[in-house]
């Protein structure tokens, strides 16, 4: 269907003619995405793309969609692999003109942000005020608003910065009906410090482990919790492009302790948590660290074959990258001492890296640049086997995941980058986040293996009792397969979407929940 002239004019009347386009060239960039099982081009070309400037324009666009029986799909930066239209007759709402950091409340440690304020900007502004912004693995260019309202929100500084489902305060939400709901304190004009109440916390229908990826309306402004930062107000870059590190500030320390097995590493994790000594701990596969420590694939290949990559696939398999931080010199020294003792007591050793390497990995941890680089080897990556539960499950999780992934690695299947792809960290010290992120190519065999692995990992997560799944998440086509095992969560999602939020299904449901069940595979 083409966009009717009336609808087109109505959109122009809302956002101004400069900010509506139905040009095929312009639209090309709005149905192109990484991570799709069918390659980069996604099947549904939007009818038009609009660039609203503020909430009332967003509301106007949504109303036009209602009036002309169109669908809409919003995105903030569009980096997420689910930011393209999943259905026909869609108006793409690109929120990039809503790019402000409205406020940083330094004392109360939160920011009020719009969709296109990116993580790197918020972090830089926060650091000037002794604060830090939680950044998910998508890295510095993603939208924390999108992360907190619509996607996952998990990132490796979770130990001290939780995750974005919990970092979300007040919410401004243009519902698919065109109403504007303000949840929490902003709803009564009291500021943005809280998203819960009055009474029930409607954040619970904004999102769960996952958001709706645009399937429940458009979020235009949020309060986002920030966290203390003891480092410099402005981080000093070291090294040179692309191996840019950060000077490790006073009262911060980066190290890479490793253990012989998952059990010892788990024991250390509990001690780290109980003694409250670390700012962040992160486990990524050795290959990923080596990618970070080399500037190109060519350089990596050469180093790999020479045996000169610094992180060894076997010896450094069970390793945390740890950052220790202290608000005072005393606190810092105490924490460092206890941390070192913990490593010793649990049979760990520290891997010695050069200053430059330490700075690069420190930067990767603080600015969160690992995942962007995971695209380098093959141009695409996938993730699965992601769950949140007790730290005690670490060994079981990794072993199960490794065995499973092992089956799908090989010629014509998934690339062998060390036979495992586990990323893990501790959220608030209260749970373990664990996921398997690995590089894939667009070759059909690889994609088939990837899909099969993702499905099997869902099944195994349930059969082996490994906790609640975050990845691949409940997005769209997976919801009705996963939901029955989780007390029919899919049916509640369906009710939320079609009874509470979007009775006319105006917001693209493809990545959220279909009107009728779509079962890909039984997972029980």
């Amino acid at each position: 269907m083409a966009l009717s002239r009336d609808a087109y004019k109505a959109l122009q009347a809302v956002v101004g003619s400069k900010y509506v386009s139905e040009d095929p060239g312009t639209l090309a960039g709005y149905h192109y995405s990484w991570g799709g099982p069918n390659g980069r081009w996604q099947p549904f070309v939007p009818l038009a793309v609009v660039l609203p400037e503020d909430t009332s324009q967003v509301q106007g666009v949504v109303r036009v969609c209602n009036r002309y029986k169109l669908r809409f799909k919003a995105h903030s930066t569009g980096f997420c692999s689910l930011a393209f239209p999943g259905v026909e007759d869609t108006i793409m709402v690109d929120l990039r003109r809503m790019n402000r950091i409205v406020e940083i409340d330094e004392k109360n440690m939160f920011a009020v942000i719009e969709p296109y304020a990116i993580a790197a900007q918020i972090q830089a502004e926060a650091m000037k005020r002794g604060l830090d912004c939680h950044i998910v693995s998508a890295g510095p260019t993603h939208s924390p608003l999108a992360s907190a309202t619509s996607v996952w929100g998990i990132g490796s500084k979770g130990l001290s910065q939780s995750w974005n489902e919990r970092n979300l305060f007040g919410v401004e939400w243009v519902l698919p009906t065109g109403e504007v709901a303000r949840l929490g304190s902003p709803g009564v004009g009291a500021g943005w410090f809280s998203g819960d109440g009055p009474g029930p916390g409607l954040r619970g229908i904004v999102r769960g482990t996952n958001g709706a990826y645009g399937g429940n309306g458009i979020f235009t402004r949020i309060g986002l919790k920030l966290y203390p930062w003891v480092g410099d107000e402005r981080m000093e870059c070291t090294g040179s492009q692309p191996q840019i590190g950060l000077k490790i500030p006073e009262r911060m320390h980066f190290s890479l302790p490793y253990w012989k097995n998952w059990e010892d590493m788990t024991a250390a994790a509990y001690k780290i948590v109980d003694n409250n000594v670390a700012f962040s701990v992160l486990r990524v596969p050795p290959d990923c660290m080596n990618w970070m420590l080399t500037s190109t694939n060519d350089e990596y290949q050469e180093a790999f074959h020479k045996g000169s990559v610094p992180i060894d696939r076997e010896e450094h398999l069970h390793a945390w990258q740890a950052i220790i931080a202290g608000h005072s010199e005393r606190e810092f020294e105490y924490r460092k001492k206890v941390f070192e003792q913990i490593v010793k007591d649990t049979g760990g050793k520290f891997l010695q890296l050069t200053v430059e390497q330490n700075e690069i990995l420190f930067a990767a941890n603080v600015r969160i640049s690992y995942i962007p680089r995971v695209f380098r080897p093959t141009g695409d990556f996938s993730t699965s086997f992601g769950m949140e539960e007790s730290i005690n499950l670490m060994g079981k999780l990794h072993r199960t995941g490794e065995n499973l992934l092992g089956k799908y690695i090989g010629p014509g299947k998934l690339p062998d980058h060390g036979r495992e792809g586990f990323w893990a960290w501790l959220n608030e010290g209260r749970s373990l986040h664990s996921e398997n992120a690995f590089a894939v190519t667009e070759e059909p065999g690889v994609q088939a293996a990837n899909m099969a692995y993702v499905m099997e990992s869902c099944r195994v997560t349930n059969s082996e009792a490994l906790g609640v799944q975050i990845l691949p998440g409940y997005m769209g086509i997976f919801a009705d397969s996963l939901g029955p095992a989780n007390f029919n969560a899919n049916e509640w999602m369906r009710k939320v979407k079609y009874e509470v939020v979007d009775p006319d299904n105006v917001a693209d449901h493809f990545t959220y929940i279909f009107p009728e069940p779509v079962v890909l595979m039984p997972t029980e």
């Binding site: 090309a28 192109y32 660039l51 304020a117 890295g139 500037s295 093959t378 590089a439």
Partner: protein, 432 residues
Amino acid sequence: MSLSERKHQMMQCIRCSACKWVTTPRISGWDFATGCPSMEYGEFHSYSGGGKTIMAAALEDGQIGYTDEMLEAVFTCSMCGSCQISCNLNYGGNVEPMENMRELRSRAVEDGQSDPAHMMLIDYLKREDNIFGKPKADRSKWAEGLDIKDALEEKTEVYLHVGCHFSYDEEQWPVIRAAAKILQAAGVDFGFAKKEEICCGGRAYEMGYQQELKNYSESLTGRLKDAGSKILLTCCSDCNGTFKQLYPQAADCNLDIEVLHITEYIERLIGKGKIKFTREVPLQVTFHDPCHLGRLGEPLKAWKGEIKMAEDPRMYVTDPVREVNFGNKGVYDSPRNILQAIPGVTLTEMPRIREWTYCCGSGGGAKEAFPDFALTTGRERLREAHSTGAQALVTACPWCERNFKDAAAESGDAMVVYDIMELVLQAMEKTG
């Protein structure tokens, strides 16, 4: 590499939007974080390096054809290379958005879809060897009364390539004359090709006219061979980028001579004691890194080879190994060292500098085709200069200077814009 040959790289774009920003580790606040003037102007994704890459892929794929809107996005771009540097940060040359854009423009030219303003420039170029359409005969007018050798007639150690802009923009003659005086004062044996000087071809290449680059590079190679000079010196950053990066990379041309930008050369002369600063220039300045002096002036070797999938561990590699444009080897320190050597000058840096500099807005034929874009971009950079508290914005490229001056005039901005040569000369001249 033609557009078809770049299909793999284009499809490597992951639409991460990193190309819209300066390299992310350099982001130091909300403001001055963006890297792509085109995106700031056009707003739709298609204006970014990644967006144009996707359009190029769609065109190549037959999904889209040319439309006015699509071409506007393609040509409202100063070909500044910021996108490329930001993309290469993590993807190590897998995508190279600017290379894709260069090929897209070339394809547009082949398909008769060049920008009308660009067609006119090329017409001028073909007639007069400069894109301003000014008579060849006037090319050396700037040098009247300066007694400079003709490098094609006499052997000189230094072959000065003045460039079209300095040659024809009368308002900028004081700058190029200053450069000549500095060289003379330092006793440098130099000359230039007088009326016979020809365009470097860089601008034409960036507008999509690739053959022009090849033609001009061949002419220059021949002349340099005849001249037998040791150094090819240019005062124009655009020419600097053309000689150091485009000729080897895109024209398969090895000039076989040391190429220097005037700032590099002056730094050398200061080092050798040939230039001495005797006069205070009390001025708080900030320095604008011209794209073609920095990231796009990074010397890159020609590469012919293939991108293939290594089997163990599986990943894309290049064979033979290709250099990647990270921008580190641009000229960044020379102008700064010069400024710091001038008594009285204090340099305060802008947030966006060196390989993550923000373009002035005039490159790639954008100023000629979309003057409003160029002025908007120039104003943004002036705003950034103001944020440092500087009294003057110093640069080292006539294109940048012209655009800043136009932007300042148009918006009534009081920022003073200098070419670094002007300050050098001021500091050398005896008081009174």
